[in-house]
């Protein structure tokens, strides 16, 4: 039952997004622009790009992610759909996990799109893709879970678009540090290090916290 509700919510969000492509278009365009701007800030042909390339990549993901996450609960505001969802027999936890899955899928798609753009602009390709995808999955889930919870929390606030990044980015710092470090290792062909265990632990802790608190956030 829980899983079916999760799936219904996630499918609904993805279906709506495929129709309008609002978040997708904005965040793709944004990530390309960021990657372009970074090329002016740093010399893209230098050897050091291997060292800070992963940082650029994850900052791009974090910035593009904010656009996806901002839309997540905001898309429920039109016509008071959020009320209808909360009044329906879907538990807050199922609603949250469903939305988080949809956000994860969208953000991951954006990342998959901007990865070759990054490789192209900065001439940096990972020696093996599997470890990179693993970091991307774990890191993106962490970004998504924090972002989705705060998207729910800020959805009815004045200044929603300002409050979300102010709250979310400081919370994302440990994830970003870990993901950047591992990605640097991966790009250099080194072992991933103990950061993977950290990411897994972070994912578990914050998924649990978010599921515990989401009902408090959604139902007053």
């Amino acid at each position: 039952m829980f899983l079916r509700q999760v799936w219904t919510v996630a499918a609904k969000d993805l279906h709506s997004e495929l129709r309008t492509k609002e978040a997708w278009n904005a965040s793709i365009a944004f990530s390309v622009v960021i990657l372009l701007l970074f090329a002016f800030a740093f010399d893209p042909s230098s050897e050091q790009i291997r060292e800070f390339g992963s940082g650029l990549l994850w900052m791009t993901y974090a910035f593009a992610g904010a656009l996806v996450l901002n839309r997540s609960f905001a898309r429920e505001l039109q016509n008071d759909c959020l009320d209808a969802l909360i009044a329906s027999p879907v538990s807050s936890a199922a609603l949250f996990v469903g939305k988080a899955l949809a956000n994860f899928t969208m953000l991951f798609a954006v990342e998959l799109f901007s990865l070759p753009v990054f490789g192209l602009f900065y001439n940096t390709w990972p020696p093996r893709f599997a470890p990179l995808f693993l970091v991307m999955v774990l890191g993106t889930w962490a970004l998504t879970i924090i972002g989705t919870l705060f998207s729910a929390l800020t959805v009815n606030l004045r200044l929603r678009e300002l409050m979300l990044p102010t709250l979310v980015y400081p919370m994302m710092i440990p994830v970003l540090i870990a993901a950047m470090t591992i990605t640097t290792n991966v790009l250099a062909g080194n072992p991933m290090g103990f950061g993977m265990r950290f990411l897994v632990a972070f994912d578990i802790i914050f998924t649990l916290l978010a599921v515990v608190f989401v009902d408090t956030v959604l139902v007053g």
């Binding site: 079916r4 709506s16 039109q78 016509n79 009320d83 027999p89 007053g220």
Partner: protein, 232 residues
Amino acid sequence: MNALEIADVWKYYGDFPALREVRLNIAPGSTLALLGRNGAGKTTLLRIIAGLSRPSRGSIKIHGSEAREQATRRRIGVLGHGIALYDELSAIENLTLFGRLYGLPDARQRADEMLERVGLARVRDGLAREFSRGMRQRLAVARAFLHDPEVLLLDEPFTALDDRAIAVLQSMIQGMRDRGRTIIMSTHQLREALELASHVALLQRGQIVHAGERTQQMLDDTGWLYRTYGEN
């Protein structure tokens, strides 16, 4: 067992009590008109019954079970201020979605039936965004009645609707009453509400100042209720 039992419910906004000591029992099959001025607490009370908000004190039981339980929410239908439809989904997709969320076994078939009943079968694949105002309202009515709720909550149902939507809503409400369902509607449009209602409850400053059966006198003189129980 009562369809709805509201026992000593209080709701605070900060330290301000928006609802005070609300007690109300409604038998199955009744149609209750929840009356009161703007800001009297009608919407707050309806939101608590719908499970959108929790009471600060007291309890709400619907057919004997708590309002926020999942099984309870399956038995409630809500038609609020917003139409609660996704503009980028088609009529049939909207209804199927809510059918699935309410756990209906044959959501799509049920959605088709409802579209037929509100007269939107012809445009079942049209996006909600492209509908006229009246069509959207009828679709919203279809959504609220989709899972055949035992208790139906209507917040100001007649204010924004056009004639055809009102006709559809009234016939749906009539059908519900014939099957012994319970309806609770908040409104300040006295005449329509009183004509439909079997019971009335008057809220004033968050308190129920009168609750009981609707009498002929209320129909004959719509101002009577406020004059008798209200403050002015």
